[in-house]
């Protein structure tokens, strides 16, 4: 009974969010009138066999036909910092669309002007992921394991300088990806997505969506620095909105256009470098079920510093397997 009530509440919330977003652009449209969302082709109820997500679905792991994900995030910025991360995810079905997601993430960064580079240690995550049968919402939350890791310049301030540059450049203010830690740490993470059903506007078929979430350390984490391990909070929050363009006229475009904002909340950054703030615009394309990509460009600033904004450009590629 309580489970049913909770499910009802979640659905009601998702529907309200969907409607609110939809009304901003298409007040005349309603969920009942709109063409079926992409996800509707997957299944209509949780008990029915799922179908593979079509091309144009941009948040795919854990959905039918997308139980393996290999993603690559590459970015560079005006300071000539280059970042690269790889993310491998495996979704295991628990029941219906509810999956257990296991992730492993690793990568590196380099400051080309200074000839500095570092391999960044792996991050493992274990989470639960669920999405609505209509794809109006999806949610994932879990725990991340951030093992201790030693970089080549940990005894020098340039290690943190490189990490900050990576945070500003990568378009992802997830500091745990770029810092080295002297002890193993844990973070909780969560992300939530809501979308409208698709609707038509002149020759366009659209959907509107938002995504938000973040990471937060459960206990203080120890960042390696030239001053020795510095204990503090490591976390971040992001928000993005997107307009989906599955069709333009009669053509399948499978595009997504949106904006992304993210802030690092980590306490390790000195006060002159606190709260790195990132904003970028992106265009996504998922021409086939097994591939989606996103290119982005934007800027990052340090709100407590007088430094000019750092520009950033990047590409995210994601490959899926059933």
């Amino acid at each position: 009974m309580r489970r049913a009530a909770r499910a009802h509440a979640v659905r009601a919330f998702a529907r309200a969010a969907t409607l609110a977003a939809a009304l901003l652009v298409a007040p005349a449209a309603s969920a009942d009138d709109a063409p079926a969302p992409l996800g509707a082709l997957e299944s209509t109820t949780a008990n029915e066999p799922a179908q593979a997500h079509l091309p144009g679905y941009f948040n795919g792991v854990g959905t039918t036909g997308r139980y393996w994900e290999l993603a690559s995030d590459s970015a560079f910025g005006t300071k000539r910092v280059f970042t690269q991360r790889f993310d491998l995810a495996r979704a295991l079905t628990i029941r219906g669309p509810l999956t257990l997601v296991v992730r492993a993430n690793f990568g590196g960064d380099a400051a080309l002007d200074r000839g500095e580079s570092a391999l960044q240690g792996p991050i493992f995550a274990l989470g639960l992921r669920d999405h609505s049968t209509s794809d109006n919402y999806s949610v994932e939350f879990g725990v991340r394991l951030v093992p201790s890791w030693s970089g080549p310049s940990d005894s020098d301030p340039t290690a943190l300088q490189l990490a900050l540059g990576a945070t500003l450049t990568s378009g992802i203010a997830d500091d745990a990806r770029w810092l080295s830690f002297s002890d193993t740490g844990f973070q909780i993470y969560g992300s939530f997505e809501s979308r409208t059903d698709t609707f038509d506007l002149r020759a366009l078929r659209l959907w509107l969506g938002t995504r938000y979430g973040g990471e937060a350390s459960l206990l203080p984490m120890k960042v390696r620095s030239w001053l020795g391990p510095q204990t503090g909070f490591i976390g971040n929050a992001f928000f993005e909105f997107a307009v989906g363009l599955p069709h333009v006229a009669d053509a399948d475009t499978n595009l997504e256009i949106g904006g992304h904002g993210e802030v690092s909340l980590s306490s390790n950054w000195p006060s002159d470098d606190a709260f790195p703030l990132i904003a970028n615009a992106f265009v996504g394309w998922s021409p086939v079920t097994w591939l989606s990509l996103r290119v982005f460009g934007g800027a990052a600033i340090l709100p407590t510093s007088r430094q000019p904004a750092e520009t950033q450009y990047g590409l995210r590629l994601a490959f899926y397997l059933p």
Binding site: L160, Q161, T231, G232, S271, D272, D273, S305, Q307
Partner: protein
């Protein structure tokens, strides 16, 4: 009955006014019979920083001037507990805290005072705050200003200050781009501080108000209130920004130049930290926008040598800014001419000698060397004239000697001010009756006596500083080593000791008085026992001898001899013929005056007393192609240094050191014999300790025998070794180590150790002669801390020092101590009184009021750090008869006695008294006590007191002359003789 009750109540609360509703005093007419009619009675402080908490990004000074409790001049409000790592209230970054933990001990050391937590901690050291030497906690809260006012303060120049490079250091690392100078940073800081000063005045408008004209000042003081003049002491305000502050806030007093060279002109050479700061902002103040330009100095015998190898605050992009202050490379240093570098410019090992003089900034009212070299008036003169045209009082304090003189030379009859500092070369050109207490060359920061006299002649006024360490001292005992002993977390308490007797097992201090200092000498011999390993990369052991030239004590001219040591596996030796015949080079620096180091006749006329300092040191010579091929090109930048940052191998063990002079009669004169007990070394010279001073003239007790010290007040100093791990002090999270020191005495026979400290004790037992050195504050490497001990035994019987550390974490590493000194000091307060008398006699013919206080409270300087005696509290009469309701009750008929200022306890009751003879000039309020102690000084005390109490009048007159330079001069203020008697306790 009611009046009696009121008096009793006021006396009990210790305040002339009620605590909850302080009111203005009734203005008292001048208490000297020959003062002109209409003169105001009250003292002026020409320089103080009440709003300092808003400076330095709010990250340096803890505490607030705005009292949360009822204002009472007899009750010091409580202060919140401060985190010891950083004073940024909102800080969460652990890296900022870690950087602060490295930085704050070094800031605190500017006044030789460990940074200990203050506030409401259970283990708060009782002497940590307030203390005259504490420069990083607010000392001018409103209660303190109120007490100074009740003691006679009637005119206060409330000044702003800042230093953006120091602020950047305090703000922690900037990982992105390092330090970027901002031409408007000082403007923003000044506004924030002026806002706070205005807030303070508004909240206390019943007894203080801002004076924007001399008429305002007379009216405000006439109403019995404190007149506040808004003042700017910023490193570099652009002209438009200054004008804005003058127009918007009513600023009426400006120091155009502060701690850095700016677009107006050159600063007085005044220490390495602000030289680094000057370089960090040079790109925004120089007309050619050149970055990283350090002070350009020229050699002069007139001043001391405040500038050493410069540090670099902000490493250049892309390296991040962090707290480690690096030194600039040799290639850059060699262009600065800060010292003759002939000793290390060759690649061959050879001895040299050269003359070494003091330093002064070459810049006057100009921002580049090219501008300064041009004839005629320099660009900064227009800025000075503009300020005078704006009817702003211009202050020459902090200007270079040339800039001050050029300011005086600006074509204007307007009076000038020199608000805070000392006067240099007081007796130059004066008659035989002139007395000058100064025993050391001043820095350029002191105003030249001719400039001071010129300012006074133009109706200007001077402010005499009351800063830390402003007194003379004579050595009682001094020991040097590297280290002398290791302090360990020993549960038994006593961890180290120094005595004159090697048999005690302690480190040995050389015995005093073994040779007659007047003995003529011909040569000096150095012998060391212990091996030398590794001479590369091109490092060699040298001995450096500095011989004092035949100049007065207040001038600098040393003949420096840098001589190679002849080393074998067993030790090293050198014999230095002071006639110079054995030296390969006898040269002057290309940067210094063209004069020979000495002639054969002058070199032959040295006495023991002329030996200024003898130092053993590694010295890097030039690294030629072969050397660089072997060790890498980086070693080129080690040239001329005695310490280095690389992993080079040189290590020099000193098992024993003998220093002798050979008399002209060929007799050997032992100067130093350092031979520690078995198992101990004198020192090991290596990467971080590349030099060791083995002889210092000031270590000899007979050197300053004429210092007016009673032998009762002793200063005990200890220096932690370089490269050591810091001793962990208290914080809100830990109790911290408590370092206690006590003197040994042979008054009853043998050199007796101080009574042992009982097991489990946590405080230094004062009753047994132990006093705390660090107030539980952290003790950083290479930092000298000192404390004061009052001795009941004759000075000559003091034979050693014991050191113990209580509450020390047993897991802590040992702390090596390199130096221990015991000095008898003359009473700092008496020294100040005598100095005041000397200055006003010399530059103002004893005209009362011409010299005011220039306290520089809250100015990162530390205040007068102790007084030998406390003024008699029963005679501490308030200059604050009451007005209003209290006056109606008859209480204004005569001033009420002032009670001591006391701590306000958490329950509102009053605690211990805050005493001058324990904490020095610890809060602004103690100016009242200081003034009373001045009055009690034998002979000139009453004259100095009366002169100070007419200093507000003299300052207002200067201001009036600025507004109307053509007005007829008012009747002169009376003059006095200022003849001082002997200090209390001394016979003439």
């Amino acid at each position: 009955v009611f009046a009696v009750g009121l008096v009793t109540t006021a006396a009990a609360t210790g305040c002339a006014s009620t605590a909850s509703d302080p009111v203005a005093c009734a203005q008292v007419p001048p208490q000297v019979t020959d003062a002109p009619d209409g003169a105001v009675w009250g003292f002026a402080d020409l320089h103080a920083h009440p709003a300092i908490e808003r400076a330095f990004g709010g990250r340096l000074i803890w505490g607030t001037a705005v009292d949360p409790e009822p204002v009472s001049g007899a009750a010091l409000p409580r202060i919140d507990a401060c985190p010891v790592e950083t004073h940024d209230r909102d800080l969460t970054s652990p890296i900022d805290r870690a950087v602060g933990a490295e930085l704050f001990p070094n800031v605190a050391q500017l006044a030789g005072f460990a940074h200990a937590p203050v506030g409401s901690l259970g283990f708060r050291p009782a002497t940590a705050w307030p203390n005259a030497r504490d420069i990083i906690h607010q000392q001018m809260n409103v209660a303190s200003i109120r007490r100074a006012y009740e003691g006679g303060l009637r005119l206060m120049f409330a000044s702003t200050t800042d230093d953006q490079a120091l602020s950047a250091l305090l703000s922690g690392p900037n990982l992105l781009d390092g330090f970027v100078p901002d031409p408007h940073a000082d403007f923003a800081s000044a506004k924030a501080q002026l806002d706070l000063i205005q807030q303070i005045v508004e909240q206390n408008r019943d007894w203080m108000w801002i004076a924007r004209s001399p008429q305002d000042a007379r009216q405000i003081i006439g109403e019995g209130k404190l007149a506040v003049v808004l003042s700017l002491e910023m490193n570099g305000l652009l002209e438009g920004d200054t004008d804005t502050l003058i127009a918007d806030y009513g600023v009426r007093h400006v120091l155009p130049i502060h701690l850095v060279d700016n677009d107006v002109g050159g600063t007085a050479a005044n220490g390495d930290l602000f030289n680094a700061s000057s370089a960090a902002v040079s790109s925004i103040y120089r007309s050619d926008k050149a970055p990283q330009r350090y002070l350009s100095v020229e050699a002069t015998p007139a001043y001391g040598r405040p500038l050493d190898w410069p540090q670099q605050i902000a490493t250049l992009t892309p390296a991040p800014l962090y707290v480690g202050l690096g030194t600039i490379p040799y290639s850059q240093y060699a262009t600065l001419c800060y010292e003759p570098l002939v000793a290390c410019q060759g690649v061959a090992v050879a001895g040299v000698s050269f003359l070494e003089f003091g330093q002064q900034n070459v810049k006057g009212l100009c921002s580049t060397e090219a501008e300064c070299a041009s004839p005629g008036e320099h660009p900064g003169a227009a800025r000075i004239r503009h300020l005078l045209d704006e009817q702003v009082m211009v202050d020459v304090t902090h200007m270079s000697a040339r800039a001050a003189q050029e300011t005086i030379d600006v074509d204007s009859p307007a009076p000038l001010i020199a608000s805070h500092g000392d006067i240099a070369h007081l007796c130059r050109g004066a008659g035989a009756g002139c007395v000058d207490d100064a025993r050391r060359p001043p820095t350029e920061r002191s105003l030249d006596v001719d400039a001071a006299a010129a300012i006074v002649a133009r109706q200007g006024v001077l402010g005499l500083g009351s800063g830390v360490g402003n007194y003379n001292a004579r050595a009682v005992l001094a020991a040097r080593g590297g280290p002398l002993f290791m302090l360990t977390p020993d549960p038994q308490g006593r961890s180290g000791c120094v005595t004159e007797d090697a048999a005690t097992g302690c480190a040995v201090a050389p015995k005093a008085g073994v040779v007659d200092p007047a003995t003529p000498i011909a040569s000096i011999q150095v012998r060391t026992l212990g091996g030398v390993s590794g001479f590369g990369p091109n490092a060699h052991p040298f001995v450096r001898v500095a011989m004092r030239g035949a100049r007065p004590l207040d001038q600098t001219e040393d003949r420096v001899i840098v001589h190679p040591l002849d080393c074998s596996t067993g030790g090293c030796a050198a014999s230095i013929d002071l006639g110079g015949v054995d030296l390969a080079v006898d040269a002057t620096s290309a940067c210094g005056p063209a004069a020979p180091a000495c002639s054969a006749s002058s070199c032959a006329s040295y006495t023991v007393d002329d030996i200024e300092r003898v130092t053993l040191e590694w010295l890097y010579l030039g690294c030629d192609g072969a050397c660089q091929a072997q060790y890498g090109t980086a070693v080129a930048d080690d040239q001329c240094q005695s310490t280095w940052s690389g992993d080079g191998a040189p290590s020099w063990t000193l098992d024993a050191v003998d220093l002798e002079a050979t008399a002209a009669s060929a007799a050997a004169l032992p100067l130093v014999h350092l031979a520690p007990p078995d198992g101990f070394l004198v020192a090991t010279l290596f990467q971080e300790r590349g030099s060791l001073v083995v002889y210092e003239r000031d270590d000899r007790p007979d050197t300053a025998a004429d210092v007016l010290a009673t032998g009762h007040l002793l200063k005990v100093s200890l220096r932690a070794a370089p490269g050591a791990a810091p001793l962990a002090g208290a914080s809100p999270a830990q109790v911290g180590a408590n370092v206690c020191v006590a003197l040994r005495s042979s008054a009853t026979g043998a050199c007796a150790a101080a009574p042992p400290i009982a097991d489990g004790a946590t405080e230094c037992p004062r009753s047994d002669g132990w006093v705390s050195l660090n107030q539980r504050g952290s003790w950083a490497p290479n930092v000298t801390l000192y404390t004061f001990v009052r001795s009941a035994v004759p000075e000559a019987t003091i034979c050693g020092v014991d050191v113990a550390v209580l509450d020390w974490d047993a897991a802590s590493p040992p702390l090596p101590v390199d130096e221990v000194r015991v000095e008898a000091i003359d009473d700092p307060l008496g020294h100040w009184v005598r100095r005041y008398a000397q200055v006003i006699r010399r530059v103002a013919a004893g005209r009362l009021g011409t010299v005011a206080f220039g306290t520089d409270f809250n100015g990162l300087n530390g205040m007068m750090d102790i007084a030998e005696n406390e003024p008699a509290q029963t005679s501490l009469a308030s200059a604050c008869p009451l007005r209003g309701a209290q006056a109606d009750a008859g209480a204004d008929a005569s001033p009420l006695p002032m009670a001591p200022m006391r701590f306000r306890n958490a329950d509102g009751t009053l605690g211990d008294a805050i005493r001058l003879d324990e904490r020095g000039l610890a809060t602004y309020g103690l100016l009242a006590d200081f003034l009373e102690a001045v009055r009690e000084y034998p002979g000139c005390g009453q004259d100095v007191h009366d002169s100070l109490m007419l200093s507000a009048e003299a300052t207002i007159r200067a201001w009036e002359a600025l507004l109307d330079p053509t007005r007829p001069p008012p009747p002169p203020l009376p003059a006095r003789t200022f003849e001082c008697g002997a200090p209390p306790g001394l016979t003439p």
